[in-house]
Subunit: 744 residues, 2 copies
Amino acid sequence: MAFSTSFTASQSLAGRAIVGASPDTSNRLAIPSCLSFNSIKTSARQHLQHRVARSHRVRPLRAMAMEAAVEALEGTTETTPVALVEKSINTIRFLAIDAVEKANSGHPGLPMGCAPMGHILYDEVMRYNPKNPYWFNRDRFVLSAGHGCMLLYALLHLAGYDSVKEEDLKSFRQWGSKTPGHPENFETPGVEVTTGPLGQGIANAVGLALAEKHLAARFNKSDSEIVDHYKYVIVGDGCQMEGVSNEACSLAGHWGLGKLIAFYDDNHISIDGDTEIAFTEDVITRFEALGWHTIWVKNGNQGYNEIRAAIKEAKAVKDRPTLIKVTTTIGFGSPNKANSYSVHGSALGAKEVDATRQNLAWPFELFHVPDDVKSHWSRHIFEGASLEADWNFKFAEYEKKYPEGAVELKKIMSGELPAGWEKALPTYTPESPADATRNLSQQCLNALAKVLPGFLGGSADLASSNMTLLKMFGNFQSTTPEERNLRFGVREHGMGAICNGIVSHSPGLIPYCATFFVFTDYMRAAIRISALSEGGVIYVMTHDSIGLGEDGPTHQPIEHLISFRAMPNILMFRPADGNETAGAYKVAVENRKRPSILALSRQKLPHLPGTSIEGVEKGGYIISDNSSSNKPDLILIGTGSELEIAAKAADELRKQGKTVRVVSLVSWELFDKQSDKYKESVFPSAVTARVSIEAGATLGWEKFVGSKGKAIGIDQFGASAPADKIYKEFGLTVENIIATANSL
Amino acid sequence: MAFSTSFTASQSLAGRAIVGASPDTSNRLAIPSCLSFNSIKTSARQHLQHRVARSHRVRPLRAMAMEAAVEALEGTTETTPVALVEKSINTIRFLAIDAVEKANSGHPGLPMGCAPMGHILYDEVMRYNPKNPYWFNRDRFVLSAGHGCMLLYALLHLAGYDSVKEEDLKSFRQWGSKTPGHPENFETPGVEVTTGPLGQGIANAVGLALAEKHLAARFNKSDSEIVDHYKYVIVGDGCQMEGVSNEACSLAGHWGLGKLIAFYDDNHISIDGDTEIAFTEDVITRFEALGWHTIWVKNGNQGYNEIRAAIKEAKAVKDRPTLIKVTTTIGFGSPNKANSYSVHGSALGAKEVDATRQNLAWPFELFHVPDDVKSHWSRHIFEGASLEADWNFKFAEYEKKYPEGAVELKKIMSGELPAGWEKALPTYTPESPADATRNLSQQCLNALAKVLPGFLGGSADLASSNMTLLKMFGNFQSTTPEERNLRFGVREHGMGAICNGIVSHSPGLIPYCATFFVFTDYMRAAIRISALSEGGVIYVMTHDSIGLGEDGPTHQPIEHLISFRAMPNILMFRPADGNETAGAYKVAVENRKRPSILALSRQKLPHLPGTSIEGVEKGGYIISDNSSSNKPDLILIGTGSELEIAAKAADELRKQGKTVRVVSLVSWELFDKQSDKYKESVFPSAVTARVSIEAGATLGWEKFVGSKGKAIGIDQFGASAPADKIYKEFGLTVENIIATANSL
């Protein structure tokens, strides 16, 4: 069977690399040259045949009993002796124990309790290719209880991922290691999403499952299920308590995400002790209320077949996500610390490590993986390559039959933007009718949806206010998952975290989400994860100031612009008109490893002379200047809806005979990246008479107005009244700019 | 019966006024001089007797049928003809319609749908005194779906609150009015908490209910139930979708808050349309899973007796909170817009208003309250005064029997701090053993708990990391509600919003709450409400920088300090040692109308020479200076854990012969409030060589270091490694300060 297709796994890797920007991206994506796909397929099959034969030879009686459950698990073609399963599970436990002990820092309790489900998932259930962590059709695993990351690192290590070698385990939680204190997708290939802040991971998994359901609906054909993978997640008590997880799980139930399977590590312990002190709700019933299928595995410590059977059952339920409550003992195996909070977040200590080694009959040295365990797991390299090769073959067939779909899907898999996509963005002239930037944003969103195959998104129940509907598409719903308008309900936090999952699924998926700018407060933890985990989510945030008017101070952002300008790896935009809105979208789409926030107006704004997409790309630029040299009498700086006020004030001041420059500072972060020469050309150091105007906190503006300039803004909460009245009362007026400028 | 007690209602009012700071506080607390309590009691009783007699005379047959249900409602001694009930309900509807129409802005849909439950609550069920909105033992009502505020304003108007007169209804959503676009407790007496951001209100109500249960357990005696009131709340679909409401409701169930009764306005419509598009979970079952009693009123539009019976049932369930799902029609009465999103957030329009007037047979002019409705509601002024007078009498009796309890409770009711309370705060010398400020914080918390009767709080499952346990108290639990350690579980957002409820309950309740500083991202919406609604919650935020070490960037705050410094009405503290921690608590406790955030270290810090409580009160102050005039060569500025580094660098630079001043800038907001003279004495404008050091974003520091100074900080995400290593790698070192200083 010849392996020939125009889209190979290595191209898939290259596709990822195109988008990648981390210094080590190319390195981490290297694929062993020995693994040409023909040879892999052959050798993997021989290997499997060999192992199946051997396991039939040596299989003990107990293993016979497991057969039914094991065979039920899709893709599992052999049984493993229970003694070896237990040895593997203990290997996971001791890798975690040893790494935490060496670092004298970390969380051994969860890996010790969850090792059985971890083993079964990575050894028996999941389909992945350790040598290509970015294979498109892999099953995804999310450790929502991210503090238990040594579980994940141990599993990646056993499975053969290059990112977690023995030396990486030994440098757990150390500077520059691949094994940081919580799972970080940008550090460790094989880690799908960045977790640790509780509740985020399960919501990310909902996003991953949404992405799969959407792509499957768009691209699968009756004769080719080209998109077909599961999302597994482990959530702890902490995740269950967080509101964001309830938000996301309510949506998962609503959307009927049948390929999402969540394991709830029910260990009854959180940091403050027994969950009885704060968490006595009936989780199973809550999930049933949310529309999930639920299963309870009562012996998660040793009931391997129960776990296997639960997974089988979960997979059989196609129309709903499944919660498998797995009752475990935190720190299982530790004779004195198991089932107590003391094993949650601290090293066991040498004495207790010894006691645990004795208790679990573990005679090996530190970080040891016994040969039979190593040998057992070694097949995943071959199996994984085989799985990917099979899929590549399938994709090649698909491509022949469905070339149009294949082109789109390849763009989504690779992240390659269609040539000339940016030409779809609208442009405007000062004669274009005045409009709110939220409306201009909707023009951009709809233009982009036509040219970007992976563009999808929606609002937290404010679509008609945020102006985010894609007119050419319907609603993504359980029965119409091919559509691209996402309806998040009033769940801002879940929305952001779900978008983090979507953007993590495939490089070419570009999710946007929307609410009022002030309600970024509800979703800030998710936005920060976008920034940290290098997920280019686009946040469409309308009603961006007191300009929203009557809704009043609960709805009026004040400190939000500065609070995001200070957040690392964010692009905070406040466009002033149509061209700037289009420019913000251009930069946002291009930045696939940096989330963008667009602060957009509710109120109408004119299209100003001098604004441009190119200007936005520089972050700050001159929109008008009546001076002949680079030394105007005065520089007025504005953003968003106040740029118009600055421009009007400049006109007045020019009539008074002054030379005045007007600068739009639409994105501070982009401006920061410009050369010193460019910065000096915009803000000549010799010109100290500078006035800024922005309907937000003045803190931070000292950076641009300097100690001799003045910042006009709002350092108190807003008010409920018509917008014009509030602007006037708060001094955001042409008159105030002129008076301030004249006072300098 | 002589009315004599050392604690009268008017003193209660005065107590509130002590704490109040708004310009109009004294005005809003005025009590009519005619209402001496003896006369109130007499006239109220006569009035009641008269009305009961009259209602028996005119009662129609249908009213007979209501009797059982109505009589069941505690405190209701008469029945009201159903025609009058409906007239009252329609009055509420049209007050809302007319106000929104006049403003051409607002949300008529909810008031039109919820008017029946609103009427029953305020006219038949709740115990309050309209002329003293701050009467301690009043029932509390929270409109969690705050956008429906015209419901609340209409009810307050009918009930006789001075804060909402006809002219206030007519200036709905206008500059300076008492009727802003969402309910604001600080603008409108009678409004208990500030709502609008969805889900906050129900969590506030949980806090109010917690406060009542706690105070009842501490102060009630077998012969005197001096604390005894209910909390009613209306939540909408939006509130139900928000994660914060699930967090808080899970705790309400856990804590068994039996006096919390929530009405779920199940109208099946949210802004994006039918809730079918995003919200199909089974809410009743979810609440049962959370440990609530649940009831479904299927005809919330006209099933008055069903609503009454549900409230009766809810009150009979003492050990659990109750959710009453009330199925209503949004915009009830509007023939063309009812049951659609178009009636949610826009004025009906003149044509539809006319149609609604016809449909509901409402012939009256705008803003009209029919005489019989007015007359019917008028009794609440007398009844309310009577209720308060009865309670005052009861309290006088209580005070005689239980003088110690009465003294404490009076402090809690009035907000008066015990004389000399601040002397309980610990002080330190440079010889005191080095310690983490989180530990020093715990010393302060425990010291304060001994002297402040209303001091209580806890952590979001990090008590042993945040160091927040009060050692002299046990855990507040359903069976031990008299205790003061609150166990919030991993529910930061719910925690903050619950504390907003606690602080709103009584002026002398001082709640604190805790998590890692980075997780303020989860609760930012609640913190902002603390600031906006003038609630002096104390936020104890530990692990305040990269200094937490190995947990890595998901746990390391960067932009958080500046993000709160920019938030209005917040006091953001970053104390450097023991004295500064004590100083921060002193200011925090004193500021009952301004929340405080304390950013505290995980790592040990020395007690620095020169730090002081008095210094903290100024926000920024000199801790050391070897110059003889007010013109040192260099000013080093630090906060928190970096102040030590600045002090060490100063020592080195002084050895090099420089004159160096070290400034602690522990609270920017407090420093901003100082005189120009004082500011110049700390930062002489002639000294431009300034270096700041803080383990956080540098944005904003330009304000203090100026254009010629330099800010040392972190403008990227942190890393997972031991803290010392990260400090070194990020250049937060003595060496870097020296090099930077020498470069100026």
